[in-house]
Symmetry: D2
Subunit: 480 residues, 4 copies
């Protein structure tokens, strides 16, 4: 096989019939027809279809001549700066289709898997590690253009510093190691798109204390005993006019419950090895590769927000106010900073011993940590610009009703009719105020970790020696 089409994706997921619970019921029938999933699965399918379109094929795929197949660039392990640029273009091409609103578009997890596969040397000759399983799985994923979810955060039951004793109560862990593989029991808090992907990759959260929690593996989503339990759906409305974003991009989050799930050995990458669990995260390529994907996407999302803000300004004709200009400038500043940091990470990328080109993680950490603050501020700015216009939004049916023409007149903006103006504000509402939009804000607040911890991480990993020497030199200059 080779790169997937949208239709293939839908068919494959429907066929899997994973155990997905939503609103008190187990999904039966085609999940792609279920109201909570049909929008996002359609969007996902469209992303896959883009890989086949003439206008995108160059930006999204490359020819794997050895295996005589087309491969998504999202799977590409970069060897040159040009490869990083290719990866960025691929990520941003897809992100442009979703306005950066799908944090789990296929490139995210494909990038993660490529990162894992390119870090396979860390597993060599280590106890309970199977680097060859990982390599083989990566090749298998490429050949089948597999879709993934992943999960690693444990349930939030006790966040105290001294809470390790509770770990076994709820967290997914190895309860048996038998001939056929590992047996897993417990829960993981969050798998976005859980139940609508081919596979689920499961690995340890950082900082574990007990070796039964130290593992990494991938299994098909329909593996027996795996249950995806959905939160409430955040789609207010399936109308593209009323809910232009949530009707298409609501990814759904799930709690994943492992009810004595058997993971066959050939899918285990490592287990019972705390040291490797920590090192694989810390020294492997997951962090720089994932950050590069995230920042590439966030830049596109910022461009989108800038457009929304500016259109609102134009539509109600508030261009002339100084504070309006300064607010929009804040978004521009965020956009330009993000773009510059992304470029810097590529420009300062370095090859590792195995010839893999690693983006510099410092500017990326900085970009992600800044976005955790600036994204909510951008959302606030759109609210402040849109003001009361963000609220009084009749839905599509009102415009189609007997009073539609009157509304079209009375809700007009500056050089724009009411229905069209309201459409823009519906979009802004869906981005900034709907349950869907609020989840987006929360996600960006915590992307890649708690903002407080992320800023500590920057402190702890940054090389401040040159700055210290600089000051010491200034202090010690011969006093004259």
């Amino acid at each position: 096989m080779t790169i997937m089409t949208g239709a293939e994706y839908l068919e494959r997921i429907n066929k899997l019939g994973s155990e997905v619970w939503i609103a008190g019921e187990k999904v039966t029938g085609d999940i792609s027809e279920h109201p909570a999933f049909k929008g996002v699965m359609k969007s996902q399918a469209e992303l896959y279809d883009m890989q086949h379109k003439k206008s995108f094929i160059e930006r999204l795929t490359f020819a794997d001549d050895k295996n005589n197949q087309k491969v998504g660039i999202s799977y590409l392990i970069p060897k040159t700066r040009a490869d990083l640029e290719k990866r960025r273009n691929m990520i941003q091409t897809w992100a442009r289709y979703t306005a950066g609103l799908m944090g789990r578009s296929p490139d995210y997890m494909n990038t993660a898997l490529a990162a894992f596969a390119s870090s396979v040397h860390l597993l060599r000759n280590q106890p309970n590690c199977f680097p060859e399983h990982l390599t083989k799985f990566y090749e298998y994923a490429i050949s089948n253009d597999l879709s993934f979810t992943h999960t690693f955060i444990n349930p939030q039951n006790n966040r105290s510093l001294m809470s390790f004793a509770d770990e076994d109560t709820t967290n997914a862990r190895v309860v048996k190691r038998i001939e056929e593989g590992l047996v897993i029991k417990g829960a993981k808090l969050l798998a976005t798109q859980g139940g609508i992907t081919d596979e689920i990759i499961v690995f340890s959260a950082p900082g574990i204390q007990d070796q039964s929690h130290a593992f990494a593996f991938s299994i098909p989503s329909n593996t027996e005993g795996v249950k995806f339990v959905c939160r409430k759906s955040l789609i207010a409305d399936h109308s593209r006019y009323n809910s232009p974003l949530s009707s298409r991009f609501e990814e759904m989050d799930t709690v994943v419950i492992f009810d004595n799930v058997l993971v066959p050995w050939d899918r285990v990458f490592f287990y019972d090895n705390i040291k490797i669990a920590n090192e694989f995260y810390k020294n492997g390529n997951f962090v720089p590769f994932a950050l590069h994907q995230i920042v590439s996407r966030q830049v596109i999302k910022t461009e989108f927000i800038l457009g929304v803000a500016k259109l609102i300004v134009d539509t109600i004709n508030i261009n002339e106010y100084q504070h309006v200009q300064s607010k929009v400038s804040e978004i521009i500043i965020g956009l330009e900073s993000g773009k510059a940091l992304l470029l810097a990470s590529e420009l300062q990328a370095e090859k590792d011993d195995r010839g893999i080109m690693i983006p510099n993680r410092t500017p990326l950490y900085v970009a992600v940590n800044q976005f955790q603050e600036t994204y909510p501020r951008f959302i606030e700015i759109v609210q402040l610009l849109g003001a009361s216009g963000m609220i009084n939004l009749p839905d599509e049916k009102q415009f189609a009703s007997p009073i539609g023409d009157v509304l079209d007149h009375y809700l007009q903006g500056f050089e724009i009719k009411g229905k069209e103006r309201v459409q823009l504000f519906q979009l802004a509402f869906d981005l900034c105020m709907s349950s869907f939009g609020s989840r987006q804000t929360l996600y960006e607040r915590f992307f890649f970790g708690d903002p407080v911890r992320l800023s500590q991480m920057i402190y702890q990993t940054y090389d401040m020696e040159p700055s210290i020497s600089f000051v010491k030199e200034m202090l010690n200059k011969k006093l004259t």
Copy 2:
């Protein structure tokens, strides 16, 4: 008649049968049974019922011996500091029932009407003014415990400084003055609770340029030609578990269209008088009375948010983190500042020439302007504390399903079972992240006006002479 019961309120509104458009249809049948209105109307009814409950009657009503009736304190025109305190207690008693989430609980408009009635002297002997209509209407409202909506903001079509020429395109204005009264045509942008109150009070926005826009009147909501056009409903779910706040407090906003509406003369307070329109707003008691109501409510809302924040902290056991403590402290600081400013406005209240006790508006302006910034920050803080727990919220049915027990176990918090923990987070979500919650945030951002203009208003009205003299004295002290 005397103070209303909830049942009377419901019956009266149903009977009115005002013209309300929602989702493309005109409401027919009892509006109190319509899914978009039944929650808020029930809450409203419960507020009215409180006026009759032994435990509240003292805090909510007083005896009008002259007319031998009980009257809601919300209608009370204060003559003493004690009256202000009574008013505050009444407002906060009702606000406590709604967690401060109903900006249009009956006390808001009753207070506004009392403010108008207490400013009636401004209309005396002025052209096109009818002070006696206002006084009579106030008494009529008291005797019937009328419920109100109001509207004054014009459509948002062009906010440029130079846009007055467009006024006549969309804004409600007097198009005819005939024997029976005024004829009104055009729209007003926003009437919260439009269509579910007895009456609608309509008055000019500040800064009008054309006298046909300068008026104030009240008419029954079912007056011919008045159309209330609803925005989309923000109730995600009628389950009290899933949507504990929006299922009860979603007030609905409407565009109000006046299709050649006849306002009988005895309901006209003034018209065709720009000077009075501006002065009635600027020099009347609406500003200080309304601000006193608003700040009283916002204090209760802040207390509620503080409780939500602290319960989240306890539930996931993050008490020990410094940044967690500092974040919760921000809410405490906001709460204590609000309470202190409210007290200061009462302590510095002064009697006007007619013996009416006017709360000092400066501390109230300050409180409202601060809340425009702090409220969104409080909401942000709850999100930052709740983190991923704010997202992964299975609904009530999931807990009632075959996997309910498992969920109850895996989603447990610190000394709390899963279902109960999720209930708290559902409440937090509804407050901070649901469409309903986002509207709350937007409303508080703009309560009593654009925050930028409100801060300018503070600058323009504050007496800085004492500070200037202080500095001049310091500058001019004899140099020694």
Copy 3:
């Protein structure tokens, strides 16, 4: 004796001849003539003289009929709300004379001593405690209108959480308990006005681990072995025109070194008692009384800054800009909040078992913690308003020189000549940008403790139970 005059203060301090080191030399001769001290001592003297002036005597003193003497209200232990108001008026009267720039005007330490004396019951019947020494000393201080400095912070050598082992290296501690009294050795980091007061009060910093550091006493500043080591002076210039504030209010800070200092028993309030050291701070009246003094002063300082800001705005005629108005409004908001919180603390004051009226500490903590953030912001605002005008400030001599007239012309402001305009900006510079002004900013940042810890303190001491119950009630309302 009774209330002191300025001349008596100067004479007494000169006579003491305490050991004060500055710029490498021990002060000899009259310290009130030393360039580093003459300004502040003159100001201090003027404050004392105010106690005798007809126009101030009522606001600053009361008649102690029992002992037939006039006493400064700063020593008054309040028994009623009116006493608190008296105290506030006294504090603000003095603060007005210094624009709130002298953190150690006499009322600060007099208040502290009154607070200690009113907490004397905590020492009763406790080991190593001498409540009667404290009471007697308080009366002695009153009768002689003594002036004080105090010191309690230890040197900053190691702020790690685990640094207690180092305590004995540098911190002042009891090294001997002999018949005549305690012998103290070591240093305390900071005594503002050290060396220019009659006495120095010394007590433990909170959180001590070793009983030899747990003590409280007062000794004359010239006690043998006590050395006051000055920092560099921050007076740029003695000209009242060039440095209108620092030339008068530069209080000087000192490190205090105790070189085997003997503290006679009758001056020891307690020693070797960790429990009492902590409780005296935590449960005594020092915190509420000192906070009340601080906030009263900070309110005056804010009024002063508001005046400076507004005069700058007028002088360069930038009133019309929206962002200018909003910036000045920030100061107004800070001022009104501070005033309201201060009032609230008095309104919510409560009598303790001994009949002492204790201001509510919560609003005061809030006010002080807010000021730690708003004061630097106010300073920033003045800089942003003054802009380049804050920099290009010719001194007094330039205006007196042959080019003076030309300067007076070219540096004119809006309806103001150059010399007068520059005088205003010199004041603003001294407040916001001189070394003196920067120390003011730093002081306010840390007044009453590190802002991070202060916000934690608010969290830890606030009663959040009512808020929690409020939310629980909302959660548990019968679901209908």
Copy 4:
């Protein structure tokens, strides 16, 4: 001639004998020996000497083979991206010597002159323009390695929007056009280093209304009628220990008064041409070249502040606190953003029609506008970290006195003696709290213009069309 030595610089300036007024007196004798100037002139001389040092010569100069001379890279008009990198290295090499504290190190004005010279085509064939004078002057400056100050801001007398009528009262303008040249009368507000450079370049502020204010020229600093009037000096102390920065880098600002100054025609670049005055600023290369110099310097300054912050953290051992880490991270984030934006401006540089490589101004505007906010925050962070340690700073003489050893002991930090610890804090004080340091903060707040206007400029010049199209496309996607 060729690149200058420090000695030549000093000699040349002394010989000029420009008219400089300070503290009421005209400077006579060698200005390089005057206490207010000797520090900065020595530093300036050292910068010139670096151009001759083997270790720096490559980074600071290039060979101008045509004219057989070495030329400072600061004069280089870039033709390639490599030239931009060369320029950056040159700027940062010099900036490193001054910790970025000299805003007017020679590269600033040399860059400005190179920018002017490279924009000479804008003057061709325009009325009252002399492009050939500019070209010739640029070559003359190169050959003599001239030093410059410049001035363009008018006095601050009235900043109202409607104040143009006042222009002629104070602002420098052409009062006569005679055979020998222009005659200039009036003042300019600010020439940093005025009086200690060979030449002064004078040009119009943007937005002029009267053609007599529209000019550009350069004249020797000692031209008859030119008076440099100094502000008060901000050097507290000439000791390198007590004032490590101000003793070396206090640049002095001057008001420049033109008392009927004759500017010979060959030094006039243009005059009486408002259109060119505006276009030369807006379309010439001054903005991108100057911004590139400024941001290059600010990056170095940020590195320095980071070092100071980290050394304070180490010295008092507060590494372990989360809020400390987060604060230092803010500086890192600022540093990395600045570096990335600088790189981006070079990467996105484009050649103009004349083959000159113009750095992209957008990322540079963003960097400068951000620095206006982040620099004061960095200064605040250093204050918050240093806390009380920033205040209690005995001077050098205290350590040399009989109590020096005791101080050295008691003021010790973590693994550092008192004298050395205090030296670090003196540096931090001079950077963040001295009058000199406060001027630095004010300068960075306003570098390249008022921050409010700069943010408006970003809004007004940014191309938002792509963002708008992006959103429109999303809105208009076929609704399905």
